[in-house]
Symmetry: C2
Subunit: 363 residues, 2 copies
């Protein structure tokens, strides 16, 4: 344990140590099974128990309505950008509304445009994507096929504090980088999705939670691996799923339920962690400059700049020497980014905060 | 170790113990890195080294020509069924030739038919898919977009001993269940693909090896996650890849190169293992009846029946008591199936053979 650094990577990201320890202990043989989960048939009784527990953990944590289906898919959020448009925009003759708050929203729009009319109903480009819109700024199309938004933009560090209100139109959300960070009520969403590699597990699994009414709208002619209904009917086992990723997601859910105590408590801790950094930035007299406007600040990805790129390089080098790693901002934005997902312990954030204070004093 | 069974699962399947042991040892922290591979950015220097080594191992093992690209994708072979047809059949006005030797070929054809004309140029249905065709039985279309075949049918247990000859038409092969089991010369193939979960690693990664001339034929309008050229240009990092699966593939390649000594030696061992079971079946006087015709027998999946389903149930129950697990045939074929991939040790096959002899004597 002593050789572990504090890993502020935006994803794949830090995982809870108890999760890694349990996976490590059983990596050659699950107790009473005699083989690794890595070697287990996805139709074996013990894997069935794993995937069912992974689902029931998520249903408890996220208040998933009974009629919504929980799917474990491949291809990450990027593949969902296409699957959503192919299933729900193609051939409808309706537009889809997209709220654009950063880099991931842009990628979602790029794929959707291949399938039909996309209305970018709000675009944060003017402010270099430093905030999310207010409800009254949204020009919703009453006949939209769906409204799509990105609850947290990993690269810019802006986050919706609550869902946009969209009436009867299906709400579709890319929650890759803040899912499980706070309580949600899934009855608000028709489709919530996210790659696992930030708050849920390793890369290679995408979670999709989808409503009955959207499942009913899947077109009849569609490739099997793009067909939400077929995948749901087969309980994510139409073909071989990423079994090890689902196993880790099961362990992460268990950790949230049993060791953290649920998402209310996780949210409290996440606010505390983010508050430590934002307070320091706000009190730094301009030495550190936050990218996001205060009311749009992300609890997951804290982004800021220093006065010069040279100073930022020095900051990153000194941080790394102290075991504070992966703090470089995304190449498209620059500056510094601290990703402080669920599994980043308070001690890691405190260590970063203390370093930032020291660095400021010495520069 | 003592609690491990012999796992004859068709996939996800047994992995080499040294691979599992190394992954276990480093699961909380890669040496000198301070974080788990599960937590590592796909753009970090240490993951770059992992994916580059995974590729160079495969290039050595499979004699991959320089111009061919090696891709690590998601969605399994099932997603490739669609990707191949969307990239290379859609809009060409040409037919695609499919050789149908079992269940997986049937699934590949189902997806391809969505995109254009499919000629099933040979269909093993008459013999209940108990053999592969001879070269002279193939009615190749001279103008085909490509020829597709399944080198080993996991469910039926039939395997091509060599590639069909297709002239200048691109040869596309689903090698999911026999890749890395014997030497191949990749210059014969324009596209060779397979899910990792049989001979290469865990589920959740698909290997695609693709020629330059096919990369040049990717249509311009295509969803990013379906675009072989885009995925190749980004070295499998267009979006976050399944990092842990690629890490295990790297370790499996290392095991084949360093501990086994390459694919010639692996092939010798695989023939020896399969020979033990087929010899016993042939000498059992009809007590065990092999499904595949001798010249089409698979070295990976050995399939047979007993005189009655009741006897098969008894066989499976007694085998399980001895730690010989996952021997039930696929529900679509019935009987018994022993999957004896690279990582199944000779001792496991010998134990199964000995049990089969004893069971025959006592029944």
């Amino acid at each position: 344990m002593t050789d572990r650094v504090y890993n502020f990577s935006a994803g794949p990201a830090v995982l809870p140590v108890p999760v890694l320890e349990e996976a490590q202990k059983n990596l050659l043989s699950l107790p009473g099974v005699g083989m690794s989960v890595l070697e287990s048939s996805h139709r074996s009784p013990h894997f069935t128990e794993i995937i069912e527990t992974a689902e029931s953990n998520l249903r408890k944590l996220l208040k998933v309505p009974e009629g919504h289906r929980v799917l474990f898919l491949q291809g990450g959020a990027s593949f969902q950008f296409s699957m959503i448009a192919i299933n729900y925009l193609r051939g409808t003759g309706k537009p889809a509304d997209y709220i654009l708050t950063g880099s991931w929203g842009k990628k979602a729009i790029k794929e959707a445009k291949r399938e039909g009319e996309v209305n970018t109903i709000w675009d944060g480009a003017d402010g270099n994507y430093n905030r999310v819109p207010k409800q009254e700024e949204l020009n919703l199309s009453p006949d939209a096929a769906y409204v799509h938004y990105t609850s947290n933009e990993t690269i810019q560090g802006v986050e919706f504090s609550t869902e946009p209100e969209v009436g009867e139109v299906p709400l579709v959300c890319d929650a890759s980088s803040d899912i499980l960070s706070r309580p949600l009520d899934l009855s608000t969403y028709d489709l919530l999705y996210g790659g696992a590699q930030k708050n849920m597990g390793p890369s290679g699994v995408a979670l999709v939670i989808i409503s009955e009414r959207l499942l009913d709208r899947v077109p009849t002619e569609i490739h099997s691996m793009l067909d939400y209904r077929l995948l749901a009917e087969n309980h994510s086992l139409y073909n071989t799923p990423p079994t090890f990723g689902i196993y880790l997601m099961m362990l992460v859910g268990k950790w949230l339920l049993e060791e953290i105590g649920g998402l209310e408590e996780m949210y409290r801790i996440n606010q505390q962690k983010a508050g430590l950094l934002y307070d320091l930035i706000d009190g730094s007299g301009g030495f550190y400059r936050g990218h996001a406007e205060p009311e749009s600040r992300s609890n997951m990805n804290v982004t800021w700049t220093l006065q010069s790129e040279d100073l930022e390089k020095e900051f990153l080098a000194e941080a790394k020497n102290l075991g504070l790693c992966e703090l470089k901002g995304h190449r498209s934005v620059g500056g510094i980014r601290a990703s402080i997902y669920n599994a980043m312990p308070l001690e890691g954030v405190t260590a970063l905060r203390d370093f930032m204070e020291t660095f400021k004093k010495s520069h």
